[in-house]
């Protein structure tokens, strides 16, 4: 038994090493200049001092990001877009899904069918009409033009509908109403806590989706001061040549906030993913 556990630890450590290797490479690459970029796989080596040639490593790329290239603004844009969209989308989807699951109203079946149908439309198909619509309502080149279309995705509404059906007992809602609870309080105080794992999962997914989204902001936004990190990093990709170290430093900065958020939300994220996987 003990031997088997050591084997498992060994295999898991190997898997962890393989997973972490690209991040280690990324960080090492972000410390190199173009001149030394291709000279070594990870860190530049020499014979003296720990075997690492420290003179070829610097935080110059990070300094340039924030002092020369206004990367802080892109970081703020990304945090704003991801957090605001994530929160609004989660609230709207939870409310929409709950309504579809627990309210009986005329046309409920049709609305549910429309939500399901909307999930079948590939996102790239919506890019051109979405652009035209944003232009006609004056939201092109604005952060609102990215947030508003993303606050009620069909997938989220359907996800919360299913979560409400399986996790929110009708009897509990009726008891709350008998006790004089308003519909909004019933939703926020009774229903939301019951679907909390799904909230964490959906919030995480939305945050990551918006954080990593490249195409939509690239098409909708025109002013560099509104670019999120994904587009700002892509701007470093020059037409004539690449500043690899700068790109890697930008990518490192892009990864860190997501990593922190995942660590903060991982318990709910995992529980949301596994809820419903076990009976009882």
């Amino acid at each position: 038994m003990k031997q088997r556990s050591w084997i498992a630890v060994g295999l898991l450590s190997l898997a962890a090493l393989l997973t972490l290797a690209p991040f280690v490479w990324l960080f090492c690459a972000s410390l190199k200049t173009n001149e030394h970029f291709f000279g070594s796989t990870l860190l530049p080596l020499r014979e003296q001092g720990l075997g690492i040639d420290w003179s070829k490593l610097s935080f110059e790329n990070y300094r340039r990001l924030f002092q020369e290239l206004d990367f802080a603004r892109a970081l703020a844009n990304s945090v704003f877009l991801s957090s605001v969209t994530g929160l609004l989308a989660t609230f709207c989807c939870a409310a929409g899904g709950y309504a579809l699951a627990r309210f009986h109203f005329r046309g409920r079946g049709l609305v549910t069918a429309c939500v399901l149908g909307a999930m079948l439309v590939p996102a790239p198909l919506l890019l051109a009409p979405g652009y035209q619509l944003l232009h006609s309502i004056g939201l092109l080149d604005s952060l609102a033009g990215l947030v508003i279309p993303a606050i009620a995705p069909a997938f989220g509404i359907f996800l919360f509908r299913q979560a409400s059906l399986s996790s929110v007992p009708v009897e509990l809602l009726e008891a709350a109403r008998i006790d004089g609870c308003s519909e909004f309080r019933t939703f926020t105080i009774v229903a939301l806590p019951l679907i909390r794992p799904m909230i964490g999962t959906f919030l995480m997914m939305t945050f990551l989706g918006v954080w990593n989204n490249f195409i939509t902001p690239q098409v909708v936004l025109q002013s560099p001061e509104r670019f999120p990190l994904s587009v700002a990093v892509a701007q470093f990709r020059g037409v004539y040549y690449q500043d690899y170290g700068l790109q890697m430093a930008g990518t490192v900065i892009g990864v860190i906030p997501v990593l922190i958020l995942f660590l903060a939300l991982q318990r709910e994220f995992v529980s949301g993913l596994t809820s419903g996987a076990l009976k009882g």
């Binding site: 703020a76 945090v79 903060a264 939300l265």
Partner: protein
């Protein structure tokens, strides 16, 4: 087990610590953006796609803005984003900048419809009236002309030379002046491929592969081939093109192989170049600066020479890339608007300061002929073993072949590449490397490509009635 630990009823709150973090982030970032100083001004905008261009233009634009109102503001876009916005603007009227610096492939897409529907202002009459046509190297207008009309001011010439590993060539006592044709190139340099004497190649003479579309076009244009003639008719199945394709296949496989793939703009390609796996590459003027940035370790080891000709005494250069400055029709609401934008366009592109700064910062040679005598072009370049590369490029500039402005050029290039890949596959299978046979088979595949492109153009009533393309 996880589900039990995360039971929502445990504390009864729908909001976990993670959600609180997000709420705080949303509030802080909203406040930060609300109070962030805005850089927006009431100004004319100019879209461009290359950071080095933007950096070079900044002092000239700053000077312009100091003296005039409204200001000009540059906005840097990725090429794909520029392409989409340009088309959206021209086809559906979405907003565009007041001036657009477009790359050849981007701009060509604007020439698909009737002349009236081209999204750029027709500059032909003003260019002729103000004598600008005679000031600019004639081939530089070609990519921006459609059906005889000019829609942009040219930014460059982009002659192509061959960059070679001077350290290797000189160690082997090779006199590059003796290499006048591609046949000479193969014959004189072949011994360099085997470094350990085992009869097998250890490195290759030319950075080229069957899938390198840019290189294929460079060689086709150098040979006098291409996809469209001066009248705009499709000429893909020409004997010249067949000869070039046959030669490329012979260079990439079989007993005459001299080429290997070290892709430009990639880390792996740079590594192969640095290691000397390929000994020469195509060098348009703008490529010089790319190498300086990406391969600084080769400083002093690279030299430039004119491309070997396809036949003795023929053209020793080609062309790769191209940029123009155009004024979108949507930006011109009144004659005053046009005058203001046109003045700026001339001030920028016909400026001597720009010509010298652009050369110093990006290695790009100006198309304005009167500036070619500037001493900046005679300066020795340390990266290229102190060669006066500017003067060398200028010496070749008048020979640069004309580039087409056809919106079907990308399609034609794809179909010709398909033909080349089919020819390569067949040759790998049959192992018949005889040049006459390769040419015959190349003609066969090119005929197919020709028919496909011609059929596509035929569907475009604006261009088919005009004889083909610009």
């Amino acid at each position: 087990m996880f589900a039990t630990r995360a039971t929502p009823d445990r504390d009864g709150s729908p909001i976990s610590s993670g959600v609180w973090i997000l709420i705080v982030l949303a509030l802080v970032s909203s406040a930060a953006l609300a109070f962030w100083p805005s850089g927006r001004r009431d100004s004319r905008t100019m879209w461009l796609f290359a950071k080095p261009h933007q950096d070079t233009y900044t002092p000239i634009i700053d000077e312009w803005n100091r003296l005039r109102d409204p200001d000009i503001e540059t906005i840097l876009l990725g090429r794909a984003a520029l392409d989409r916005r340009l088309l959206s603007s021209f086809l559906s009227g979405t907003p565009a900048a007041d001036l657009i610096e477009a790359e050849r492939q981007n701009a060509a897409r604007a020439f698909t419809g009737s002349l009236d529907a081209v999204g750029f202002v027709d500059l032909t009459d003003r260019i002729d009236a103000e004598g600008i046509r005679s000031r600019i190297n004639p081939p530089s207008f070609a990519p921006w002309m459609s059906r005889g009309r000019i829609f942009g001011l040219p930014h460059d010439v982009h002659p192509v030379m061959l960059g070679y590993r001077a350290d290797v060539f000189e160690a082997a006592r090779i006199d590059v002046d003796s290499i006048r044709t591609w046949d000479d190139f193969e014959r004189v340099l072949r011994p360099l491929m085997d470094t350990n004497g085992d009869g097998e190649p250890d490195r290759y003479l030319l950075n080229l592969w069957e899938t390198s579309t840019d290189h294929i076009e460079v060689l086709l244009l150098q040979a006098g081939g291409g996809f469209f003639d001066d009248a705009g008719r499709v000429i893909i199945d020409s004997p010249i093109n067949a000869r070039v394709l046959a030669r490329i296949v012979a260079w990439c496989q079989g007993p005459r192989r001299i080429a290997a793939d070290a892709p430009n703009f990639t880390a792996s390609g740079n590594q192969l170049k640095a290691e000397g796996f390929v000994l020469s590459s195509f060098f348009p003027d703008w490529m010089c600066d790319v190498w300086k940035h990406e391969l600084p370790q080769l400083a002093g080891k690279i030299k430039l020479m004119p491309l070997p000709a396809w036949d003795e005494g023929e053209r020793r250069t080609s062309v790769w890339g191209g940029t123009m400055l155009g004024i979108p029709r949507s930006a011109v609401k009144s004659p005053e608007d046009f005058e203001e934008l046109w003045s700026f366009a001339k001030h920028l592109y016909l400026s001597k300061d720009l010509a010298t700064d652009l050369y110093r910062s990006s290695g790009i040679v100006t198309p304005v002929v009167e500036f070619w005598s500037d001493p900046v072009f005679d300066e020795p370049d340390a990266y290229f073993a102190s060669q006066p590369k500017g003067r060398m490029y200028i010496g070749l500039a008048p020979q640069v072949p004309a580039r087409t402005s056809s919106p079907y050029n990308t399609l034609a290039l794809s179909r010709v590449q398909d033909a080349l890949v089919q020819l390569s596959e067949e040759t790998r299978r049959t192992r018949q490397y005889d040049e006459a046979r390769l040419r015959e088979r190349a003609s066969h595949y090119l005929k197919r490509a020709h028919d496909m492109v011609a059929a596509q153009i035929e569907r475009n009533v604006f261009l088919s009635s005009a004889g083909g393309v610009p």
